[in-house]
Symmetry: C2
């Protein structure tokens, strides 16, 4: 009897080792295919250079819908469709204009970009004194008397000491997202924000902002200045506290318009009702070409299915690619996708988003239970040969966030973050800033992870 | 007694933990300083944009000597000096010219770059049929009859499937380094080599080559074509096997000239006779600005001493920065440095080179004994928070190679390698391709490693 148990254990161990070797070999083939035979870089070239910036509600956004629909149609998937949604439509209008005025007539032009969602200035623009603050707290401490009638200049830089630049972004972005809403409460007439960029350069970076529950009558316009111009303004302001800043922008929010998520899937052969999603977002800001944010994530997600198809992989579970619309200023695509999944009673077990740039992948972060993390951490070794084995517990992606519930693991691809904010939401987010190999390695890492979730599912207490 | 041993162990463990925490905290300060208060990016700007390409023996190379000497003089080190050496002087001459000819008069110009060390063509150029091969073995198999009188076109691409691009480089570079010497033996009249570049673009990449012991009379000229042009030539050649290739270059090797290594040091306070070296190479190819190769390594090495100085660190051992001259086409600087160290009976315990580009550091590779590797691997955890903890046994750097002997650990900084060969030895090796944070993080990792070697030395059987 004892002998039999030993034999069983030995056989089991041999079989586990054999499966492990099979997985290793398959992941190796995934990388080989991604690095030598993927079309994702060409797709990104098209999205960036033939379509360009794809703000929700724009013609370009719909061109991107049609283009990616066509791309995944050609992948010969089991099903490809568009999900109808409506999206907000904010438009920049004619180019913004701004200057700093030391004395009447002595002006220096300053490049600005209206923040996404901002109201326009009056048609003649706004001219007022600047008051520089480094935080919402400092604004509060200054109070109505100091702020009223002025343009508030938020100038706290992203912290260069943080190794992960997304952490530095999180700690600075309140100035952009809430600055105008807060400054308005103290009677400010406008807001200028230092760009969310660690590099010193001349490019203003736009990005979403919200007025919260502020009534329309109290909304004030907000725009970003480049890091170099923020430093220049700050230095000049210290010497000339009464200098004036003028800016003019005629952006506005129009009525919602129809748009789409783009979806395709390979049906699972054993557990078709268990769905695995991989995706990025199709929309981008209107400046730059949305190459890193998030053209890269879209083409990598399509590449996951392309690679599995090229390898004639027959998945156990249903593997779905979703190009979400409207991540940047509304999250309507992600919200609609999750709510439709709920309506249909679909069971998603894993969702992976790539929305941190097309740089060398360092690993993934997982929004998962401790139980699932234990399972996932065992897969780390598969990613070591590719140096993509930084597995952490943490966030995933904005678009897949609404899918969160019991019984699903969410994950985000985590590429090297050092260069990301040089390009994020700026005219510098262009195709030439993406390296083909880095992009392909991201797609390979994503495919490998999707493969493992497809093979092994997720350990979970049975849910209905 | 037993109680005393326990007490001793407890105290020892507390003290070890305290020291570990102290090291962690100091390394954290190193990173903070590198990321917020280092001048290395500005130094690189000067080397790249005020001096530019710095081929050994050129005026630019000596300008780089003077500039870096001045920079480290200003760091207030204990000693700064130049080491006299002589270097080979190869010059490119007037720009190369080449075309492909389908029939008389039907020509298409092809950008080429003479390989470093190549002889000139005759003054009227060379025109001959092309014969494409993918390896030195294939050349050998073809033999004299097929090759004689022709221009050999080496066109084996770097393997895109290799994750580490330096491995792919090693497997392809024999075509460049030995192609001409081998082809000459079979009567070829010239050699054209596909650039060592994984990216498809229009830039030819130069680089060193050797004729081995070939007599002057047998030397044939060699040049590189871009990856795009290599593909174009190959395709056209398949359709038109009798097409001709013309090229003309008037590069030549002049007499050796004097040059310098640039050296500075902080004297050790406890073991001044134990020397730690950190360095890169000052020379570069003449095309591009030598920003990644190896301006980055030079400024990072200078930054190591800058950072330690800023932190008022008083080293136990002597810490020396060396900017080596002539890595690209002779290694005279590295050789001379080691031989002078031998003459003086200096004892080097650790040498670290950065010569793999200024990209995000992934870790280090060590040329070390098993005993030393055990010691070094214990330090890995210090680098984990900075994601620079890939520690492997392997090569170090060309310039510090000659220092190898018993009792010294050699190491190379290993940055992310994906983009490196887009820039290596080409017009694209410019300052804008370097990201400040990535550069600074490399300097920080190097400083942290130098700090640990300074604190703890290396475990070694006593040598005389």
């Amino acid at each position: 009897m004892k002998k039999n148990i030993w034999l069983l254990c030995a056989l089991l161990s041999i079989s586990l080792q054999a499966q492990e070797n099979k997985d290793k070999a398959f992941i190796n083939r995934i990388y080989d295919t991604a690095l030598s035979d993927s079309n994702s870089y060409d797709w990104l070239n098209h999205l960036s250079n033939q379509i360009g910036g794809r703000l929700s509600g724009s013609i370009q956004a719909e061109q991107a819908v049609d283009y990616t629909f066509k791309v995944i149609e050609d992948l010969n998937l089991d099903k490809v469709w568009k999900q109808d949604i409506t999206v907000p439509k904010w438009v920049r209008g004619t180019p913004e204009f701004a200057y700093m005025e030391l004395s009447p007539g002595a002006t220096t032009n300053i490049p600005i970009l209206a923040l996404g969602g901002s109201v326009a200035t009056p048609s003649l623009g706004i001219k007022a004194e600047l008051i520089e603050v480094s935080s919402l707290d400092e604004l509060k401490a200054l109070g109505k008397k100091a702020v009223s009638g002025k343009i508030v200049f938020f100038n706290r830089p992203m912290d260069p000491k943080m190794i992960n630049t997304f952490s530095a972004y999180s700690k600075a972005v309140d100035q952009r997202s809430k600055g105008a809403a807060e400054a308005a409460k103290y009677g400010a007439v406008g807001v200028i924000v230092r760009s969310m960029n660690l590099r010193l350069d001349d490019f203003p970076h736009t990005g979403g902002m919200s007025y919260g529950d502020l009534p329309d009558s109290m909304k004030i316009p907000a725009a970003a200045v480049s890091t170099n111009h923020a430093n220049f303004l700050s230095t000049t302001l210290a010497l000339n506290p009464s200098l004036k800043f003028y800016f003019k922008q005629n952006c506005r929010t129009l009525a919602d318009v129809p748009s789409h998520n783009v979806i395709g899937e390979i049906k699972g052969s054993e557990f078709p009702e268990e769905i695995i999603v991989v995706g990025g977002h199709l929309d981008s800001w209107d400046v730059g070409d949305g190459a890193h944010d998030d053209g890269a994530g879209c083409v990598q997600s399509m590449a996951v299915l392309e690679i599995l198809k090229k390898l004639n992989y027959n998945p156990k579970r249903t593997i779905r690619v979703v190009m979400f619309m409207n991540e940047e200023n509304g999250l309507r695509g992600g919200t609609a996708y999750a709510s439709r999944a709920n309506e249909l009673g679909e069971r998603h077990i894993f969702a992976l988003e790539s929305d941190s740039g097309g740089f060398t992948p360092r690993g993934f972060s997982f929004d998962a239970t401790t139980e699932n993390m234990t399972q996932i951490m065992e897969w780390k070794t598969y990613f070591e040969p590719y140096m993509a084995h930084s597995f952490t517990k943490g966030g995933s992606g904005a678009d897949i966030g609404p899918l969160k519930k019991e019984g699903i693991v969410l994950a985000g691809l985590r590429p090297d973050s050092q260069r990301y904010f040089d390009h994020h939401h700026a005219a510098t987010d262009t195709f030439d800033a993406v390296n083909k190999r880095e992009l392909d390695m991201g797609a390979a890492a994503m495919t490998a992870l999707v493969y493992l979730f497809d093979r092994y599912g997720i350990e979970t207490t049975e849910i209905k």
